[in-house]
Symmetry: C2
Subunit: 559 residues, 2 copies
């Protein structure tokens, strides 16, 4: 099997190099200068017909720059320092487990990691509260403005200070291009990658990472399970310009031999520290799943479907003890604050089918998460709240409202919601419906779902399909929230349609390859030689736009 893995690994490395040359057609990479905060990458879509370029948010990092040479062994250039040493940062050698990973894993050489002061005073949240505008805030503001000035750094600061937004940016993730998550900014999309015990290799996961970025992932979670977790993660972080999230209990469970009962706070703490040193930007921690809530979940149709949640619950019920992540929540905050790792408070009791939605187990946990969010803020730790799961469309709004009310408007980060259970194979679409709705209502980040959800580990094309569905959902939500910057692309598409500028239509598309190929295939149909002013859907005589242009000309000529 090792042989197969190595072959896959080599093939994946080759495919990664192949991604270099393929910037989206009709587009080019541009940069908006942002002073000491660095250059903000954007994609500029070039249009014909005298139209000015449309700028779009670009998550692809250096990989979207044709001048950059990919080198996944060395990783991306380090574009951020950990902060001025006089503000309390110190440098030291990586500790136990992480040092071991670096020694054995053929990883890019990391010789020193940074650690912030014990009092949490160096986190984005602590600085925002003190009125400090950081480089990360400046950078994120410029990105949200698409290179302009519509979103000010001061606004980003105030949103972070009020807990309504977070900037997940571990001081040791120096390859990061900072971004902000909050409901008064563009709706963000997270992509999940990661090997399971029965599939995939580190290079394949880096390939999924770069592939995810290309299709618009704003953050990526490494959900690897299996034996090679730390090394896979090292490869991912060193090659990632976007925040990386993890669920640390997966690695803890792996170290406990896969037996939930053998977990302990000490083991969990070790994993947290190692991941902090490595540069993970946010942790999903299932600290709100309390012993008293488990009986409500045990009565459900599908019980506990969160992987992390079920692991914690198994530990709790086996030991008859309270959740160790809840009991040690202050300790967790102290660790995170030193590295400015954000917490994504996990919804271990999210419903796994429509029948279980909005029940006592789910909302009971949400209430606990709200309290933990306040507590984390006291340590200067940034927080977002994870949300469901399977929820019928009519119950989505209640989820959003309760989150705002119970969790002090902390950014909501939802999986879907999946609005019907009966369409496995199409859950990217099913959950995209729920995601559009909750995004419009104020959800800050949407965790993508692929077509393979509930069925199998997603492969590369599943990642693409999941991201396309979710970029659509996020954009639908941005437009519905009244974002003028988002709407410019729709408006440009409308004009391109009315002018029969087909190439512009393809280039403005979320997936320019698919739109063009569908059009070209239709054009090849029976006996159609000139497709310039119609498509095969209606044919020339029935083209409404052609007729409509004639009517418009009649009006404009005063006829």
């Amino acid at each position: 099997m090792q042989k197969i893995r190595e072959t896959k690994e080599t093939e994946a490395k080759e495919r990664i190099l192949g991604l270099q040359a393929s910037v989206f057609p009709g587009s080019s990479r541009v940069y908006a200068e942002c002073g000491a905060a660095g250059r903000v990458p954007l994609r500029s879509i070039h249009l014909s017909g005298g139209e000015k370029d449309v700028l779009v948010y670009d998550t692809s990092g250096p990989y979207g720059d044709p001048d950059y040479q990919i080198d996944i062994v060395s990783g991306l250039p380090k574009r951020r320092g950990p902060g001025p040493e006089d503000s309390g940062f110190s440098r030291r050698a990586p500790s136990g487990f992480y040092a071991e990973t670096l020694r054995t894993g053929q990883s890019p050489a990391v010789t020193a990691i940074a650690e912030g002061p014990d009092d949490g005073s160096a986190t984005q949240l602590s600085r925002a509260r003190k009125g400090v505008i950081t480089d990360e805030m400046r950078f994120a503001a410029k990105r949200e403005s698409l290179g302009g000035d519509s979103v000010t750094p001061e606004f980003v600061r105030s949103e972070v200070a009020s807990l309504r937004a977070i900037i997940p940016a571990n001081i040791n993730h120096r390859e990061l291009e900072p971004m902000v998550i909050g409901r008064n900014f563009f709706v963000k999309v997270n992509s999940n990658i990661g090997s399971s015990s029965i599939g995939s290799s580190p290079a394949e996961e880096v390939e999924k990472l770069i592939w995810s970025l290309r299709w618009g992932a704003d953050t990526v979670m490494d959900l690897s399970t299996g034996p090679a977790i730390p090394y896979t993660r090292e490869c991912i972080i060193r090659n990632s310009p976007v925040p990386i999230g993890t669920v640390p209990v997966y690695e803890a469970l792996e170290r406990a031999g896969g037996i939930a009962e053998k977990l302990s706070w000490e083991l969990f703490r070790e994993v947290l520290i190692e991941q902090c040193e490595q540069g993970v930007d946010y942790f999903t921690i299932h600290a709100g799943l309390l012993l008293e809530l488990i009986p409500f979940a045990a009565k459900r149709v599908t019980g506990i479907v969160s992987r992390g949640g079920s692991i914690m619950a198994k530990w709790m019920t086996s030991h008859h003890k309270e959740n160790f992540a809840y009991e040690h929540f202050d300790d967790i905050c102290r660790i995170c604050s030193r590295f400015d790792v954000s917490l994504s408070l996990g919804d271990g009791l999210r419903p796994g089918c429509l029948a279980d939605a909005n029940d006592r187990a789910q909302f009971g946990e949400l209430e606990v998460l709200g309290k933990l969010a306040s507590r984390a803020a006291e340590f200067g730790v940034q927080v977002m709240i994870e949300g469901p799961g399977h929820v019928p469309l009519n119950k989505v709004a209640e989820n959003m409202q309760k989150e705002l009310d119970l969790c002090h408007e902390a950014p909501f980060y939802t999986l879907g919601p999946v609005v019907t259970d009966i369409a496995p194979g199409y859950d990217h679409f099913v959950s995209g419906i729920g995601a559009s709705m909750i995004g419009m209502l104020g959800c800050a980040m949407l965790c993508y779902v692929t077509p393979k959800e509930h069925l199998a580990l997603p492969e590369k094309d599943d990642v693409r399909q999941g991201l396309i569905a979710y970029k659509i959902a996020a954009h639908v939500a941005d437009v519905a929230k009244g974002s003028k910057l988002a709407m410019e692309r729709d408006d440009a598409m409308g004009r391109a349609r009315f002018d029969f500028r087909w190439n512009d239509q393809f280039n403005l598309s979320i997936d320019p390859y698919t739109s063009r190929s569908f059009y070209e295939a239709g054009k090849g149909g029976d006996g159609c030689s000139d497709s310039r002013h119609f498509c095969s859907m209606c044919g020339p005589k029935f083209c409404s736009i052609r007729l409509s242009r004639e009517i418009k000309e009649q009006f404009e000529s005063g006829e």
Copy 2:
């Protein structure tokens, strides 16, 4: 080219015969007896684990019965009479154009057509108002009850009488299995088929029809343009167990040599009569697009994007005359009432991009449609109202509310709405988001959109993808509206997941083939021999459901 067409025709006929054997896996056709109204077809999904079968609404007609032998030349058996002759129906030979089509077209032999009384007293609406419960109402009630009695025939009658629902059922469409469209019933889905001048043959269109029914189309619109319209339509109607809708102005334009200026009321009238005789169940008529509204549309980004709307507007602006369908609306109603053809009042001014949504042109036309709906009811003609189009998600609710307010709660029948313009190639999904939302809010029927929308004429797999997306949207809406019958399938899926009954999960899926193939592909991954109690997404150690079952067992054993 004729040669190519004939080959395609033959291949299509062979594929149609191939559809016979393929009932969905794990399912069988069952019938609910409904007295003189006939047997109501349902699909019964068989489950294991001691679970009872789940019954689902079945649109596939005789094609879903393995005992039925497909014969597209003879067409389906005639299961309805045109009504008792003493209630004013008369029989006569088909008139001019239709007779010609029958003579030349190798069509199934139709020797006599029926015509109802001049006073419209025989339509479903007129009879409903008189308190008569028709066989069509009984049949539809049994379907809506999935073979039970939760929806009574009297309820269907009262909904039709109140104009909140329609039963599109031309007395000459004797192959029809009646169904009801209204917001207090299951949300319905329409599939568009039809050749354009640059593609397709009649047998291919019959194939798309049967394919549409298999994937759940509740009604089918034949949007054929090009030379063979009447013959293609004859093949479709004689082989269709679901209501067939058309846009008669397409055929009128074809007869006018494709030149909108050459249209006339007389020509349009001839087309209507022929289609009534043939058995078309509902007509989209763009009678609400008035001359005074065109200037508002001329100012738009994308003008008029409705094909029928642009044809009418072109005629109006060329002749400086009011819309002939508006001027002759009473005449149209008199024709329709004799055959019980329903009217689908077309939204010729639906917006073609987000920027044009909810504007004065659109809502001005909707107001006219509301007045026409009242007028049609005076003639006993059933009416639904067509809706947009391109609308941002935050403006969808206003569309639904205005329709209810202005159009006396007549069933709303919407295209999408398409909630962003930037995803050509994915408009089935984009519009499925809007469709789910408006369906939840009360839209009665959703007109599907395929992945090829805006790009090319859809082919067979596009039809399937469009229908799957829309069956999902309709089901999401049904569940969100609180339908217990719809929710039973979701609940069964939840239980099947918790029990690891994989086959049941596949069989309960909207697309059992895709869900199974995704699972099987994952199962074949590295070294996974027993996939019974997990899937490749999480692997055995991280399977939340396995852990959750253990927790549940602990609780149940009182541990």
